[in-house]
Subunit: 165 residues, 2 copies
């Protein structure tokens, strides 16, 4: 094992530049380790979303709008109702009606009243919508956003699942 191969140098470099949450928000003490984790979770999510936002705004959409497009693409070519979309969104308090209005105005989705249930709306991603997502997945290296190994990312995701338990 070489102590100075590229992986290890990268790792050592990371340790030196990494800022713990205490530094980031300049708070030394927390009521409990749980409170520290809560604060770190919200801080890191905001950090992440602001990076995503930077990227998405160059494409003229918001993170929420992207979230909806991603859900629709998962269903394509089937349609899906507004309430189904809402139940799958990362932010459950989203104002889906008006988010869909904005996506429709950009011709990224299409809507029509569901024939079987006239209360509901069938929502479908359009060709331009799919094209935009393709462009995004080519450009965006989302996988590299988190500086974690695969094992660490797996552990993180598992801990988050359990945290909500």
């Amino acid at each position: 094992m070489y102590w100075c191969d590229r992986v290890h140098v990268a790792w050592i470099f990371r340790i030196f530049r990494m800022k713990k949450i205490e530094e980031e928000i300049q708070q030394e003490k927390f009521r409990s380790i749980h409170q520290k984790a809560v604060i770190n979770l919200i801080y890191t999510s905001n950090w992440l979303q602001s990076k995503q936002h930077e990227f998405f705004k160059t494409l003229g959409i918001t993170g929420q709008q992207f979230n909806i497009l991603r859900i629709l693409k998962g269903q394509h070519p089937k349609s899906i109702s507004g309430s189904e979309i809402k139940s799958r969104m990362l932010d459950r308090n989203s104002d889906v009606s008006r988010l869909l209005d904005r996506l429709a105005a950009k011709k990224l989705i299409s809507r029509r009243t569901c024939p079987n249930d006239k209360r509901a709306t069938d929502v479908l991603i359009t060709e331009p919508g799919i094209a935009l997502l393709k462009q995004i997945s080519k450009t965006q290296k989302q996988d590299l956003v988190l500086c974690l190994t695969e094992e660490e990312a797996e552990t993180l995701s598992d801990l988050l699942d359990r945290a909500r338990g």
Copy 2:
């Protein structure tokens, strides 16, 4: 070791009721484990913040306003400038000026121009502000929000620090 003591029963119960992110947003496949972790992180942060919001709204403040009060209390009885507050907030894009307006309107903080630097504002938490925080820390069992052991919470916080690396 008893296989059926209270801790283990609680743990087994948790496994059965716990929903993984795949279930929560009804998406089976992810581009990568990193993407899954990113999505889980944002989802969990939203879940957490909506729980906090529920609690804070009974007290007439928002999560962001609470964040500022907490920072001010950490400084008490010293004052702190608006830009210092901003740099310590969980959401760095916050509109601090107007958040302070709202807190001042509720008499939870006081402001005055800094004598040494007339551009800056000295911000201070008031007695009612401190009283509100006391009430919150009595009522709120934030430590219990995350269903994790102390070790798990520690690991989670460490992974989040590294994720931003």
